[in-house]
Amino acid sequence: MTRTDAYEGLLAETVTVVGDGGDEIHAYFARPLGRGPFGAVVLFHHLPGWDAWYRATTRRFAEYGYLALSPDLYCRDGHGEPDDVAARVRAEGGVPDDRVVADARGCVDWLRSLPQASGRLALFGTCSGGRHAFLCACRIGDIDAVVDCWGGRIVVGDDDLTAKQPVAPIDYTADLDAPLLGLFGNDDKSPAPADVDTLEAALKQHGKDYAFHRYDGAGHGFFYDDRPAAYRAEAAVDGWRKVRAFLTENIG
């Protein structure tokens, strides 16, 4: 039974993690107070950058009882408001996949080294962050759960590959060794429902453990309660319930 007089607390702060090439990258870290052991979540921010929604969502995972770490994947691209930095990153064709994978590996190692860590760990992301979560789960391995929320460009034609993103993440599907939860809006254009179908077919082909949920009347970013045009309350409430149940099942 939940005790309403039980003590609870949460700590949130910026920290430094060693990422690609030994670079010190900054990250937002939130955790429950207490000795644990706690499961851990790495959050990959979306295209608009390392913004307030991601900080709030990092704290949300800490409230769920996890060690939650959101690295600033654009931290090498200058200071400024998140959308200003994101504009520069976008103009330069995004961040290189290899760098994101190496940064994520640093975050995974950092989280698992904490004395409060149980060792169980999930990756979570939305938009380009959903793509990064899927990509990193495939390429890093030894991940216990991955949540892809409407990750675009997992399914990519050869003519749309770039020097920074030279391989379509779907081509790594065989290497995925973690259960995958996918949440998608049926009105989304990136990924469009046909892209989700293609990814689902690849997961089936390789016998992967996955659960996809697709929401009618929802497009891209239906969790974003700071964006009235994108937010869909019913889909968001149901989606968050599914995320929490999935994490409870897989990382405690």
Partner: protein, 101 residues
């Protein structure tokens, strides 16, 4: 990045941001998820001073139709500017060259 439609160009001009006027050195154009515009995707252009970091930036997000209208109006004004400069230049040379009188 949910599209790969993005370009970065060197650019010379001035723009006014929250901290006042600045000298711009780059122009970004793209089509991806907007930050503020009420649509899933938008055409964006940013006039920035990279030399000063990303803090100096004027950002615009608009739908493709509005982007075309803007592009057409800018081209029309640029053409008019070329005509004006050419005509002014001819008048100037006519007034300073006795042989042309």
């Amino acid at each position: 990045m949910c599209t790969t439609i993005a370009d970065r160009h060197e650019f010379q001009g001035s723009a006014k941001g929250p901290d006042g006027w600045f000298t711009a050195d780059h122009l970004y154009v793209g089509y991806d998820h907007p930050v503020h515009f009420d649509a899933e995707h938008a055409v964006s252009f940013d006039i920035v001073a990279e030399a000063d970091g990303t803090a100096h930036r004027v950002a615009v997000e608009l739908d493709p139709e509005a982007a075309r209208t803007l592009g057409e109006r800018l081209l029309a004004i640029a053409d008019a500017a070329d005509d004006y400069e050419r005509t002014t230049s001819l008048h100037a040379s006519a007034s300073t060259n006795p042989a042309a009188r």
